[in-house]
């Protein structure tokens, strides 16, 4: 302790105190203030940027979920439309089938009726022709039969016989 007091130099103490206080104020003005301000400014700008990035990411995420929702809705809509179209198609095809069936049945019925009438016609014609033919044959037979006198007599006799009134 005694050595410390002996070593103590007031002059050096005085200069150190004076110079150091001057140094603190000089550095405060020319170094620490601008440096710390710059560091603070940068740090706050980094913080701001990070926050902005976080916000942007959140927005993007929301946007993505929105997109997903829209996409899902669109998909459901598409499915619905396709299903409707399918149903309609099936119905149309079914209707068409039925109509075609009915039409063809009508056609067949018509054809049958026509065939029937044609057949009746043909049968009637054949009947007429058969009657004419048989009349002609009977005429030719009669002519041949009744060529001679006796045969005519015979016939008259027969007829008279039959007509026994």
């Amino acid at each position: 302790m005694e050595k410390l007091i002996y070593d103590f130099s007031f002059g050096l103490f005085f200069w150190q105190l004076l110079l150091f206080v001057a140094l603190v104020f000089l550095l405060k003005k020319f170094a620490w203030k601008p440096i710390l301000n710059a560091v603070d400014e940068r740090e706050s700008s980094i913080k701001e940027s990070l926050k902005a990035a976080e916000r942007a990411r959140k927005e993007l995420k929301e946007l993505q979920s929105d997109n997903q929702k829209i996409l899902n809705e669109a998909r459901a809509e598409r499915e619905r439309i396709v299903k409707e179209a399918n149903d309609m198609k099936n119905k149309i095809v079914g209707d068409a089938n039925e109509a075609a069936k009915a039409e063809s049945a009508k056609h067949i019925e018509n054809a049958r009726l026509q065939i029937e009438s044609e057949k009746q016609n043909a049968i009637a014609q054949i009947k007429t022709q058969v009657a004419e033919l048989s009349v002609e044959i009977a005429e030719k037979l009669l002519r041949k039969e009744l060529e001679s006198q006796n045969k005519q007599q015979e016939l008259i006799d027969d007829l008279l016989k039959e007509a026994k009134l």
């Binding site: 410390l4 050096l12 150190q16 620490w32 710390l36």
Partner: protein
């Protein structure tokens, strides 16, 4: 262009001067055999190194007895201002006359003597002569000024680099992490987010000042600023004053009327707490002084060993040890700056703390 010259000066100052300074050891070796007690001589050299001096002494050529270095102004206050160059003392050999008073330098202190320069000693071998108030630009004051100039140069340039862009460039790349470290690891945890800004200028200045001064102490220039008690006393005094003048009501309340303890304890604690107010900065100044002084003494002793053990094993051993210790001292230089700053911040923190909870 002006900057370039200052850069050149710095280069010369830092890199070339040590070679001149290291010549001192060569001079010692040359005279090792001529001097009978080399140990005494080494002891004297170390003592001389630990003391301040009135001229910037780099080395001495023992063969011719010439001292290399440069004189510094001596400023004395003794019923009037006395200013002269230290070269007039002729390294303590001559008595200097100034305005009718006679002065002699003994162990780096200026004493008032008569015309023939007679000094009377007490039983501790301390001169009993009257001492004028000595405001000389001594070696330490000169070193402090030079180092402060370098510090201002470094940090004003750093500050300027932020004007163009917020991204650190050049010097700022190296300095900024340290500044941020002081802010985030020392100031904010100890003082608190609310109050730390007021103390930043002091904390940063004291951190870089002690660190850089300690680093210069490791160069062979022989600068030893932080191992003079006057310097550490001045620094600790500033910490002490800032602590007392920024203190809030709670700080004083915790000293004189400790809340939460019985009245009897309050009375007992008050003087202890009050003593603590002074002991804290005192420990601060002794710690820095003792650490740096011890480092210098051990380092110089190890280098001195080279001249004591004049065998093939002595020099490599001494070199190896000195090299290892120098690395350690590099760490100590930063560590002491950190501790001083840290404890200062802690004291400021306790001064501005607002206790909401009574303990």
């Amino acid at each position: 262009m002006q900057f370039k010259t200052s850069k050149l000066f710095l280069f010369l100052f830092v890199f070339v001067a040590p070679f001149f300074a290291s010549a001192q050891h060569d001079a010692d070796t040359a005279h090792a055999e001529a001097e009978p007690s080399i140990k005494e001589k080494i002891k004297k050299d170390i003592e001389h190194h630990l003391q301040d001096s009135h001229d910037f002494h780099l080395f001495t050529d023992n063969a011719t007895g010439t001292h290399y270095g440069f004189p510094l102004p001596v400023i004395l206050w003794d019923d009037g201002l006395h200013v002269f160059m230290s070269s007039k003392f002729h390294h303590g050999e001559d008595v200097v006359e100034s305005k009718g008073n006679y002065y002699k330098v003994y162990h780096s202190k200026v004493y008032k003597t008569d015309e023939s320069g007679v000094l009377t000693f007490d039983e501790h071998h301390h001169p009993t002569n009257a001492m004028p108030l000595d405001f000389s630009i001594t070696k330490n004051v000169f070193s402090i000024m030079a180092i402060m100039l370098i510090i201002i140069l470094i940090f004003s340039r750093t500050a300027k680099s932020y004007k163009t862009s917020l991204v650190p460039s050049g010097m700022a790349k190296f300095v900024e992490p340290i500044i941020v470290f002081v802010r985030d690891e020392i100031a904010i945890p100890n003082i608190g987010e609310k109050d730390y800004k007021r103390f930043m200028s002091f904390l940063l200045t004291i951190f870089f000042f002690i660190w850089i001064v300690n680093l210069f102490g490791l160069t062979p220039l022989g600068i030893n600023v932080t191992n003079s008690i006057s310097v550490t006393f001045a620094l600790a005094l500033i910490t002490f004053l800032i602590t007392q003048f920024t203190a809030r009501k709670d700080y004083w309340k915790h000293i004189f009327w400790m809340p939460g303890v019985p009245v009897f304890m309050k009375i007992v604690l008050a003087p202890i707490e009050l003593l603590g107010v002074f002991i804290k900065p005192f420990a601060l100044l002794i710690r820095l002084y003792a650490n740096i002084t011890a480092g210098h003494v051990v380092l110089m002793s190890i280098i001195g060993m080279m001249f004591v053990f004049k065998s093939w094993i002595g020099s490599p051993l001494s070199f190896g040890l000195a090299f290892g210790l120098s690395l350690l001292e590099l760490l100590v230089a930063a560590l002491q700056a950190y501790i001083f700053t840290m404890l200062s911040a802690l004291y400021f923190g306790s001064a501005v703390a607002e206790h909401h909870d009574e303990h």
